[in-house]
Symmetry: C2
DNA sequence: CGCATTGGTGACCACGCGGTCATTATTCTC
DNA sequence: GAGAATAATGACCGCGTGGTCACCAATGCG
């Protein structure tokens, strides 16, 4: 009687779910989670309000899926980055031992630019996050931020131990600076029309981070204590 | 008929308005502008919902006042800071010409710490802003952020022209980094119980900003091009 | 002490939107 | 083409809360 083969007399449009998510991203970016109307999301996706609820339990449900996907992508990006950093140290070395600062910066620059590419592709979500309320989602973002900060701080502390990063800067502060800078730039991307030169930003950022603002031409003697020039 | 002297047979409690603003700050920080209930704000201030509307036209009105006061304080802080920076350059000099980097950093450190003090005192508002929606208010914050970024970028560009800040870092990027770092740290303050050592953060931040992460012990020759150490 | 005046109260209204469900449209099988 | 099964629709309901307003309370004045 082939009762097991009869699955769906009228299969649902497989594109609808993704269309709804796309529409939701735009509406969330425009109005935030609270003010976005399910009606509008559905209409933008070309279906009715009822159809929305065939794919999601609630408005929050859709938002959660969008947020989780995004954080997942960032997570994966972070994992890849860590592996690339370890590989670089294994295969090339670290500054002073087999590698120059310039080589390291070129490598970091590629990785930072990749991350910025991810942020650029998902800038609509960045806009949505800025307008989002609701403890669970803010909590997820806050937790992610904290993890990133700790990751950075751990990385810095490790390399301070290795001796090639200066030890008189609290790694936690470096975490604030790096996470803050990316977030700041990401927020700025939101209302850019054309894609900016992400590589140039990375380059400048890394120069600032590793070398500092103070002009090398006026730099004091490398190891001497300050306060003896007037 | 002394109609001009009879002003208020029953004067309103002059503390009520401020109590309402305090309560509103807390509720906004807890629940955000949208989810905070006027009822709760009023009860927390010890009055009824109706009394709230004797002092404010709407919930948004109270929020606007809170936001404007805060931005005003930041604005004033910024003005004072600019004046202090000009005074320092006028009275002491700039690195290389009458002042050492250490002197400049001590001065900047005081100013940065003052700004952090302001953020610390207003950390409830920082929490509220994180949970706020509504175009006008987000716009105000976004505009303020942009102004700050431009202020920083202009300051950096100027001093690059003076020669004591390295010219190969886009001032706009420095703006992202500085504004982002303060915002990042401010956001972290929100869920700290005890007041952290703001001076230490400033010190570490400025060291990072001016000197960079790269260890001075391993620093390459001041003016020579990189890539000659292996 | 009574009256006028204004502060203060909270039950109530109105409205907007999230979510439901009876109904209709579509697509599959036989 | 009939019938079954399911996708899709949109009118409708319910709820929560912002804002109002008739009413009460406190205070100054004569």
């Amino acid at each position: 009687m082939r009762t097991e083969a009869r699955l769906s007399p009228r299969p649902s449009n497989p594109l609808t779910r993704e269309a709804l998510l796309d529409a939701a991203r735009l509406e969330f970016a425009r109005s935030g989670l609270d003010h976005a109307r399910v009606e509008d999301i559905a209409r933008r996706a070309g279906v009715s309000k009822g159809a929305f609820y065939l794919h999601f339990d609630s408005k929050e449900d859709a938002f959660r899926e969008i947020l989780q996907r995004f954080l997942g992508v960032l997570e994966e990006q972070t994992t890849r980055r860590r592996e690339a950093e370890l590989a670089f140290e294994r295969e090339v070395g670290r500054p002073g031992i087999g590698a120059t600062l310039e080589q390291l910066m070129q490598h970091d620059c590629r990785l930072d630019t990749e991350l910025l590419e991810v942020l650029w592709r998902n800038r609509v979500i960045l806009a949505a996050l800025d307008r989002a309320t609701g403890q669970p989602y803010l909590q997820m973002v806050a937790d992610f931020r904290r993890r990133m900060r700790q990751l950075v701080a751990g990385h810095i502390a490790l390399n301070q131990g290795e001796g090639w990063l200066r030890g008189d800067v609290d790694p936690e502060v470096v975490g604030d600076v790096i996470v803050g800078a990316f977030e700041s730039y990401g927020r700025r991307m939101v209302d850019l029309r054309a894609k900016p030169d992400l590589g140039a930003w990375s380059r400048a950022f890394l120069t600032l981070l590793y070398q500092g603002l103070f002009s090398p031409a006026a730099q004091r003697p490398p190891t001497g204590p300050p306060g003896a020039s007037d």
